[in-house]
């Protein structure tokens, strides 16, 4: 199937009728006319890309059903248009164990060979000839004077093609659409991520401003500690007021009176005169009703009441 053609990067002529030769290094591939259709066309257009748009309709009538790729090269006063099936070439290469990464370049025999090279006998049965500027493969018996296939150190042409691996599965247009969609989604996600980070920065900045506005400490920990201290103070003061109010409002007996009230170090001490242990019951009930824990000592007719905040 393959015939060695160049010494640097091995160049192989790809033709189904030739024997198979396995390769393990990078190769250039020349496609035999069996793998493509070629047309010589003259159009009032200057650019290749303008012509390429017209190729599906130009080839429409002659091509069998399939998914074709098209290429066009501008010559002096005409265009050389090519149609080929990527899938057919790829499957052929894959069946012969040639992996895609090992393929350096691919070009058409039409491009590779000049008129001076032809006719060229590629096998006993097949010979390449040029007819009206088109490279054709004919039975060798038609051209007995053909040159033998030889290994020239020939520079591989720059006019190469790239096989579309998924051309037969997904239309190139669809690939672009899917790609565009993925890029759009990525952009959307990127924008959302940027906005989320921006929002977070704004919130953090607002938090710092909040501390500055209220003349607070710079860290949350310091402020929490400050809040805790103020809360403890507030709680203590509220409790103190509640207990003092409860003591002042105690319903005392006729001979009972408060001699003194003192408060220091979170401790309230009340001296109740005329209150014996046996008379303390109503005072105890009143304190219990207000949920005030206390300690009491009796000395003669004096009750010493102690309440810890």
């Amino acid at each position: 199937m393959f015939t060695k053609y160049s010494k640097k990067i091995e160049t192989l002529f790809l033709e189904p009728s030739l024997e198979f030769k396995s390769v393990e290094q990078n190769v250039n591939i020349i496609l035999s006319p069996s793998f493509y259709w070629v047309k010589k066309i003259s159009l009032p257009l200057k650019r290749e890309r303008d012509v390429k748009k017209l190729l599906p309709s130009i080839f429409e009538e002659i091509l069998p059903n399939g998914n074709y790729s098209y290429t066009v090269y501008k010559k002096e006063d005409y265009f050389l248009a090519f149609a080929y099936e990527d899938r057919v070439i790829l499957e052929f290469l894959a069946a012969r164990g040639v992996s895609m990464p090992h393929i350096a370049n691919i070009c058409f025999a039409q491009i590779f060979f000049s008129e001076a090279d032809l006719p060229l006998r590629i096998s006993k049965e097949r010979t390449l000839v040029m007819q009206d500027g088109i490279v054709l493969m004919v039975p060798s018996s038609w051209q007995m004077s053909a040159k033998e296939f030889c290994l020239d150190d020939r520079v591989f042409p720059k006019q190469t093609i790239v096989l579309e691996k998924f051309n037969h599965i997904v239309d190139k247009k669809n690939i672009y659409q899917i790609g565009s969609l993925l890029v759009f989604v990525a952009l959307l996600f990127g924008t959302e991520l940027f906005m989320l980070q921006q929002n977070r920065d704004d919130v953090l900045s607002a938090k710092e401003n909040l501390f500055a506005t209220h003349n607070l400490k710079s860290t949350m920990m310091q402020n929490e500690s400050m809040a805790k201290r103020y809360s403890a103070l507030h709680e203590e003061q509220m409790k103190f007021r509640g207990i003092i109010a409860a003591i002042i409002n105690l319903q005392l007996g006729q001979n009972e009176k408060i001699d003194s009230i003192s408060y220091q170090n979170r401790s309230i001490r009340v001296l109740l005169n005329g209150v014996k242990e046996s008379d303390f019951k109503h005072i105890a009930e009143a304190l219990r009703a207000k949920n005030i824990g206390y300690k009491v000592n009796f000395k003669d007719t004096m009750a010493i009441l102690e309440v810890q905040l």
């Binding site: 393929i103 370049n105 990127g190 980070q197 938090k207 949350m220 809040a227 003092i244 408060i258 009230i261």
Partner: protein, 135 residues
């Protein structure tokens, strides 16, 4: 044939989108945390501002106390006021119990950090007072 396989590009984009998705999840969580912290900071700021205004405003406390002590009801109470460092001391060797009730009710209903108090009955009608308020 060295062109990059479109599948690789698609795979890269999908992985990239996946990574972005994870990053967005993390950023959302981070934003949620930042908002929670902001909410907490707002509450703490409000609480501190409110309590500091009550317990840590020296001029306001001194002004309010002066207004109470100069009240006409307390003219006969012989109250003494002394400010030392961050404390204000109020004392009376002898004052009428009605004056004492008036003063105590004013102080207990006001926002003052009372750190020490001593009320001693002298007789049926009079009592002495010593009080310490933090500024």
């Amino acid at each position: 044939m060295n062109r990059i396989n479109p599948l690789y590009i698609a795979f890269f984009l999908i992985v990239f989108i996946g990574v972005l998705g994870v990053k967005i999840g993390q950023a959302k969580e981070s934003l949620h945390e930042a908002k929670s912290e902001f909410q907490k900071a707002s509450e703490i700021s409000y609480e501190i501002s409110k309590l500091r205004d009550i317990y840590d405003s020296k001029d306001k406390t001194v002004g309010a106390l002066n207004a109470i002590l100069k009240h006409s009801s307390l003219k006969s109470a012989s109250l003494e006021q002394k400010i030392v460092a961050k404390k204000i001391y109020i004392s009376s060797k002898s004052m009428r119990k009605s004056d004492l009730d008036f003063l105590i009710s004013k102080l207990l209903n006001g926002s003052y950090a009372i750190t020490a108090l001593e009320i001693q009955a002298i007789n049926q009608e009079e009592a002495s007072l010593k009080m310490e308020i933090a500024l």
